[in-house]
């Protein structure tokens, strides 16, 4: 038994060694839902990282070595996330990973990267537990759900002055985490929610839930989850004649939200918390232009992914391609990115978070509220 394990380890070391020797590139994994219902986000991650790698390689790579990206598809499934993480570490020989997207995938995958000493920078996973577990190799270039939930709660209490808030979540790590964070803040501000319930991911019929939301006479419906459920939910709310304000988090930042909701007439007035417009940073102007010149609008998490790769590349550069030393370096230094200067605390969270409120308009676009 133990012999077999030793042999297997030796073989995988040999294979990994051979892989690194064969290609003198720096292998970086881009992990996210490249297929499945959340593939729109996977594409944002890939496009961002791809452009960043191209730009870094064009200016000489990392200490002269070229970045080679490897796509890893977790389909937002925790089980698949673990197996692609193992593949990235064992057979692809990745030294760093940009990803994953869904918090429920990032969490188990990060353990594997920690054991293998691989640097992980997630552009999008906002669940607090991702960094709260104190893994030394885990970083994120987005905010945390407790910050995001707080922004939403204070907006509801201060600006909307709403008293009757219904909280809905999708029972997943990200969705429920965000809903819980928002609930905690809301309760701390002295407002008790009138309803707190979960729906099932993958279903399309939420009419029963919508009728229940109507029956508690909610002014605001807060949803923790992703756009594929948020779309039908908001549509069915409107179809049943509810005028409650619909608010959600960064899980709906995609044009696809309009498609699944059945058109701009349904998403009009939907509010959402997200980091301050990533395209507005002066440092990122030229990169945004480059994306648009290639016919791609860098929406949602595209520039976050670009930033994540820049952060990983900077760490590897200063640590002479050693991911563990790179992680140590990141905890104490700041990095210039397309989204401005980013620095990290000892947990791997950003030292400054910048959540703001957005509103979707009748053209199916989101604009920042002041």
């Amino acid at each position: 038994m133990s012999n077999a394990v030793v042999r297997k380890t030796l073989i995988s070391i040999a294979v990994a060694g051979a892989a690194t020797l064969a290609q003198a590139d720096v292998v970086i994994g881009v992990a996210g839902p490249h297929t499945g219902a959340y593939a729109a986000f996977g594409e944002q991650l890939w496009k961002g990282a791809e452009q960043a790698a191209k730009d870094i390689n064009a200016s000489g790579g990392i200490n002269g070595e070229m970045i080679k990206l490897v796509k890893a598809d977790d389909a937002c499934e925790p089980k698949q996330a673990v197996s692609v993480a193992n593949r990235l570490v064992d057979s692809d020989g990745a030294v760093a990973v940009v990803g994953h997207f869904c918090s429920s995938s990032t969490q188990p995958a990060s353990n594997i990267y920690a054991e293998a000493g691989v640097l992980m920078v997630t552009p999008a996973s906002t669940n607090p537990t991702i960094t709260d577990r104190g893994l030394p190799n885990v970083f994120r270039v987005c905010g945390r759900d407790d910050q995001q939930g707080d922004v939403a709660a204070s907006y509801i209490v201060d600006k909307l002055k709403a008293k009757r808030v219904a909280i809905i979540h999708d029972k997943d790590t990200y969705g429920k985490g965000l809903a819980d964070a928002m609930k905690a803040s809301l309760n701390a501000y002295g407002t008790k929610e009138v309803m707190y319930e979960g729906l099932t991911r993958g279903e399309k019929d939420f009419n029963a839930l919508v009728t229940k939301i109507r029956s508690v006479d909610a002014d605001v419906v807060y949803f923790g989850g992703l756009h594929s459920e948020a779309g039908p939910l908001v549509r069915q709310l409107r179809e049943q004649g509810s005028k409650a304000i619909f608010m959600s988090g960064d899980g709906i930042v995609s044009d696809e939200f309009v498609t699944v909701a059945g058109g701009p007439q349904y998403v009009k007035g939907v509010m959402m918390t997200f980091g301050a417009d990533p395209m507005s940073y002066p440092t990122g102007k030229s990169v945004v232009k480059e994306f648009q010149a290639n016919g791609y609008e860098p929406e949602g998490y595209t520039l976050y992914s670009y930033t994540a790769l820049q952060v990983a590349a900077a760490a590897l550069q200063h640590a002479d391609l050693d991911p563990i030393k790179g992680a140590e370096w990141l905890h104490t230094h700041s990095v210039d990115t397309v989204m401005g200067k980013k620095s990290f605390d000892k947990k791997g969270d950003l030292t400054v978070s910048d959540y703001v409120m957005y509103e979707w308009n009748d053209k199916g676009k989101y604009i920042q509220l002041d």
Binding site: G36, T200, K212, E239, V260, G262
Partner: protein, 303 residues
């Protein structure tokens, strides 16, 4: 009061969709004793066909809603029926005389093939169709109101018409008689000159057509779909078929409506977190009291 009524409407529309899809499971089981696990994915294919037909019709300048829905229904039902025929031909007929387990595995394989084929050919993204019919009736009851969209009414109307037409076909026509004879005793039916292979093929076509009917209606109503919607819908419809008594046609419709109503009422009056737990507990309870489902006939051991 208004809330309970609204939940009844929600449950009835959802249940009639479950019922339509359950028909496919129950007819196939009745006639060849297998569970066609690819049936949920046939429903998923029909959602894509609906979107394609709407795109085609608008491309050719058809604007009025009745023509679009009529065209979409014809197009989707015909092509989905063809899918059903091909699936039976390719995956099940060659295994007609082998063990039940091989057919079951073939069905699961077919389900995966359909999912992956759609994912590769149509892309993994969420898809949507534009809202074609909006507007609703609103009935005021006391302080509250019950709101029924035109689309929901159309679903009820078309679903129940579809079920009535199918019942007529099975009860009154020659094809129906042949189906019933084959269901009762396949060998005897073939000795008496019924082409049972043809009957089995037509059962697959009918089942797929019913799933296509559901697919068109649901796609127009929810407006959103992806290659994975067949899974949950298939499980629910299969549950409905078992609940009503698998093999029994009225049982599938009744099972669908009971499942839809119980989900909606439980989610609305108790908690939506546990609605599936409630539905499946109900299934267990009914199977304890009536092991062959509500309207199913107990299996008679042939000696």
């Amino acid at each position: 009061m208004d809330i309970v009524l609204q939940q009844l409407v929600n449950g009835l529309t959802l249940g009639s969709v479950y019922g339509l899809i359950a028909i496919g499971y129950t007819m196939v089981y009745g006639i060849i004793g297998m569970i066609n696990f690819a049936h949920g994915d046939v429903y998923m294919v029909s959602a894509y066909l609906t979107a394609i037909s709407i795109a085609l019709l608008t491309f050719f300048g058809v604007q009025s809603f009745p023509f679009i829905i009529f065209g979409a229904l014809i197009f989707t039902i015909v092509i989905t029926g063809a899918y059903g025929w091909v699936i039976e031909r390719v995956a099940y007929r060659p295994l007609r005389n082998s063990s039940r387990l091989s057919v079951l595995i073939s069905a699961i394989g077919m389900s995966l093939i359909l999912q992956n084929y759609v994912q590769l050919s149509q892309g993994p993204n969420q898809q949507g169709v534009p809202t074609l019919l909006s507007g609703a009736f609103r009935f005021h009851i006391g302080d509250g109101f019950v709101q029924i969209t035109y689309m929901k009414l159309l679903i009820l109307l078309i679903a129940f018409t579809g079920m009535a037409v199918l019942t007529y076909i099975i009860q009154k026509t020659k094809l129906g008689r042949m189906c019933r004879a084959t269901q009762q005793d396949r060998k005897m039916a073939s000795i008496l000159g019924i082409d049972t292979d043809k009957v089995i093929s037509s059962v697959f076509v009918i089942g797929s057509a019913m799933a296509a009917l559901a697919g068109v209606l649901v796609t127009l109503d929810y407006g959103a779909f992806d290659f994975y919607i067949g899974f949950i819908m298939g499980i629910k419809a299969f549950t409905a078929a078992v609940l009503g008594g698998i093999g029994s046609l009225p049982g599938a419709m009744l099972g669908g409506i009971i499942l839809g109503l119980s989900e909606s009422l439980f989610a609305g009056l108790v908690s939506s977190d546990y609605k599936d737990v409630f539905s499946f507990s109900l299934l267990v309870l009914i199977l304890i009291i009536r092991p062959s489902g509500l309207l199913g006939k107990p299996a008679v051991e042939k000696v």
